[in-house]
């Protein structure tokens, strides 16, 4: 009798644990999952990669235009890796055109894969992005906006899940004192990208850029931050090699650079 009770008890405990695990596990959509190929990054993502059927928000760490460019390249790199088949296309919705296409090509998006959608205002840009997601003809959809409230992000998230298309929302700083990550959002992951000092070279020149990549929030996982090397011409990030002279004296570096 007692053994039976004990058995039932363990059974119940096992069932409970199973259910808990099922609730805790983040539900991945059946769209494509894109790992970064960097163990330190993928292992800390709840799904092990970027969900191809979800909304991902990327913002610059500071209102400077340099950080903004880093965030743009981070987005371009992810989009380029989603659009790796030769016939794939990317839609990029924006309101104020200041992208430079040769720079995007050097992040892995050739001009034949990129379709620009220049909207009158941000509402229109978000509507165009949602259209692109639902059409399902694009490998990735990028939109750059300053403001997107909970409703707008929820709509994008649902459209991305319906269309099995990754939505990359580039949040640009509207004002210097207003972090775009303050407001709540329905995104799967929210990133904050900033520039970091790169490794010094032994000769005059600029080495591969470095970014501070911070995952502010993710569904079913914890936030973290990393220093990574900027994406190369196929959109791939890399882990910086452990540098001996990490804290090189800036005076010496300046004299070498000049």
């Amino acid at each position: 009798m007692s053994t039976e009770a004990a058995f039932a008890e363990t059974d119940r405990a096992r069932l409970l644990a199973e259910l808990k695990a099922r609730i805790a596990a983040p539900e991945a959509s059946d769209a494509r999952l894109l790992p970064f190929g960097i163990e330190a990054l993928d292992s800390r993502l709840a799904l092990g990669g970027i969900d191809g059927g979800g909304l991902h928000e990327i913002a610059a760490a500071s209102p400077t235009l340099g950080d903004d460019a880093a965030a743009t390249l981070f987005v371009a790199g992810i989009a380029a890796r989603f659009a790796d088949s030769p016939a794939a296309s990317i839609a990029w919705a924006l309101t104020r055109f200041d992208l430079y296409a040769p720079g995007l090509e050097q992040a892995g998006i050739p001009p034949s894969k990129l379709l620009y959608l220049e909207a009158r205002d941000e509402t229109m840009a978000l509507a165009l992005a949602e259209d692109c997601l639902r059409l399902g003809s694009f490998a990735a959809v990028v939109a750059e906006v300053k403001a997107a409230d909970q409703t707008a992000t929820r709509r994008l998230q649902l459209a991305a899940a319906d269309g099995h298309t990754p939505m990359l929302l580039l949040r640009r700083w509207a004002r210097a004192a207003r972090d775009p990550n303050e407001k709540p959002s329905a995104a799967c992951t929210r990133w904050r990208i900033g520039c970091a000092p790169s490794a010094r070279l032994a000769y005059p020149g600029v080495s591969r850029g470095r970014w501070s990549v911070e995952l502010v929030r993710q569904r079913g996982g914890n936030p973290f931050s990393l220093i990574l090397e900027a994406c190369d011409d196929t959109g791939r990030l890399a882990l910086p090699a452990a540098a001996r002279d990490r804290a090189a004296a800036p005076v010496a570096a300046t004299s070498r650079a000049a």
Binding site: T64, L65, G66, D67, D68, A69, A71, T72, L73, A76, A87, A88, S89, A91, D98, L99, Y100, A101, P102, G103, L104, E105, Q106, A107, P110, P111, S112, L114, L115, Y116, L117, E118, A119, R120, M124, L128, D131, C132, L135, G136, S137, C195, A196, P197, S198, R200, L201, P204, G205, V206, S207, G209, R210, A230, C231, P250, T254, R256, A257, A258
Partner: protein, 482 residues
């Protein structure tokens, strides 16, 4: 004609010579004639207005006239050569009150358009052709079976002979059409060619020469008249769907696809409401067309109600039948972007959807050109380029830099000082001297710099630092690397 103030001729370049192809009445009166060398004409008349001939525009006018003839005068009409129109008036002239009245009507019509003309009506196309051009009278109406006598006095060129046949005829002393009548056919064919004999037979009615009629293109159009005026969005959408189904049937029968469609809604109060959609690629997909109209449905103001709707196709292109998708193996994973682009352009406007492609220029802001959404885009050379570019370069102040070819060590931009930790360059870009004189010697030296904190900028200095004409050595910030 009052149109011609100064004597005017049109010239065309033939090989090395410039020939007069047409002369206005004033110029004709002064002794200039088509076929003259342009230099000769200029020498004869001092105040001569010489303009280039435009044969393509002439052809376009003739085509339009022929279309007008088909729709207004007779069903069988076509363009004849580069300067005439055939009209088969069989059974049609009585509609205009007889042949003489018809001819006067046509000449008046041409005069209103600013043309002069000559008309000949004869039993055979060849005779009419000859009499209209060589008869000398503006209106010639030939009684039946008198072609031989009417043509006998005309020059042999009236028979539409080839140039070599004409040259041969001149050698044999044959000048008039009448000279050919007594000649035996065998020797005539040997001397002037069989084609000349055939032309003669056609003019005299011994050989048939049918006129291949021009068939006017009618734009596909479908119409639905409604029993009751409608006003709700659902009803309008239903009618649009029905109209599109009708249109697709018409298009399938004629092997056409649409590039643009105009929907006209006729309201009870007589006002028309129009919406137009465009397709980036020829299509006759009913679902796609209905979806594109659905995007613009809110622009139809039904007012008191709509009593009829028309769908017209101003721009259509041939579209053959296609194989069903199920018959084909999976042809790659490339989704067709055209429907998506149509929908996006319908929402945001035609100009909003574009690609960027290479423009052959080294100056960064000129290296990018907007192209259509379905155009092929080509990439740029692999020089390091920033991902965002300022609309116009912003000047830096307090720049400390070694001349001539070192990146700056520190600079101030938008009131904030930056210390440079690493720099790369210069990449020298010369001005495009063929555009403006200001760029004749202009030089920009571009540097890629990283400042403290890791931000990367694209800065340039005007001038190469050695020759003063190349620039004033001021520094500018132009773009941002991530």
């Amino acid at each position: 004609m009052p149109l011609w103030g100064r004597p005017t001729v049109l010239i065309e370049r033939v090989g090395q010579r410039e020939m007069v192809t047409a002369a206005c009445p004033v110029a004709l009166g002064l002794g200039l004639a088509p076929g003259m060398a342009a230099a000769h004409a200029r020498a004869l008349v001092g105040d001569l207005d010489v303009q280039d001939a435009d044969p393509a525009a002439d052809c376009a006018w003739l085509d339009r006239l022929a279309l007008h003839a088909v729709t207004h005068w007779t069903p069988t009409a076509s363009v004849s050569g580069s300067d005439g129109i055939w009209l088969d008036m069989t059974g049609a002239s009585h509609l205009f009150g007889g042949e003489p009245r018809f001819c006067r009507h046509v000449l008046r019509f041409l005069a209103r358009l600013g043309f002069s003309g000559a008309i000949a009506i004869a039993g055979t196309p060849g005779a009419a052709h000859a009499l209209a051009r060589y008869g000398g009278a503006p209106i010639t109406i030939l009684p039946p079976s008198t072609e031989a006598s009417a043509l006998a006095g005309l020059s042999i060129a009236a028979l539409r002979l080839q140039p070599d046949a004409l040259a041969a005829a001149a050698r044999f002393g044959l000048e008039r059409v009448g000279d050919l009548y007594p000649m035996p056919r065998g020797p005539l064919a040997r001397r002037l060619g069989l084609a000349a004999v055939e032309r003669l037979d056609q003019a005299l009615g011994r050989a048939a020469e049918p006129i291949v009629a021009l068939i006017p293109f009618e734009a596909p159009e479908v119409t639905r008249r409604l029993l009751e005026p409608i006003g709700t969005a659902e009803a309008i959408a239903q009618v649009i769907a029905d109209l599109v189904d009708d249109l697709v049937l018409v298009l399938q029968q004629r092997g056409l696809g649409v590039r643009s469609v105009v929907l006209t809604a006729v309201r009870v109060d007589g006002a028309d409401r129009r919406i137009a959609i465009g397709a980036s690629r020829t299509t006759r997909d009913a679902k796609h067309l209905v979806r594109m109209f659905g995007l613009k449905l809110d622009r139809i103001d039904p007012g008191l109600g709509i009593e009829a709707m028309h769908l017209t196709v101003p721009h259509s292109e041939p579209l053959g039948a296609r194989l069903g998708d199920t018959l084909l193996p999976e042809s790659g994973d490339a989704p067709d972007l055209a429907p998506a682009i149509d929908q996006l352009a319908g929402r945001a406007g035609e100009q909003a959807v574009f690609r960027l492609t290479l423009e052959q220029s080294d100056v960064p802001e000129r290296a990018v050109r907007r192209a259509g959404p379905l155009a092929a885009a080509s990439g740029w050379p692999a020089w390091k380029r920033p991902v965002r570019l300022l609309r116009r370069p912003e000047q830096l102040s307090h720049v400390v830099a070694l001349l001539p070819d070192h990146p700056p060590r520190r600079f101030t931009w938008r009131g904030k000082p930056y210390a440079v930790t690493a720099g790369d360059g210069p990449e020298r870009i010369h001005g495009e001297w063929w555009r403006t004189d200001r760029e004749l010697w202009a030089v920009r030296d571009y540097f890629r710099v990283e400042v403290e904190g890791g931000q990367r900028f694209w800065v340039f200095r005007r001038g190469d630092g050695v020759v003063p004409e190349t620039g004033d050595l001021s520094w500018y910030l132009h773009g941002f690397f991530g």
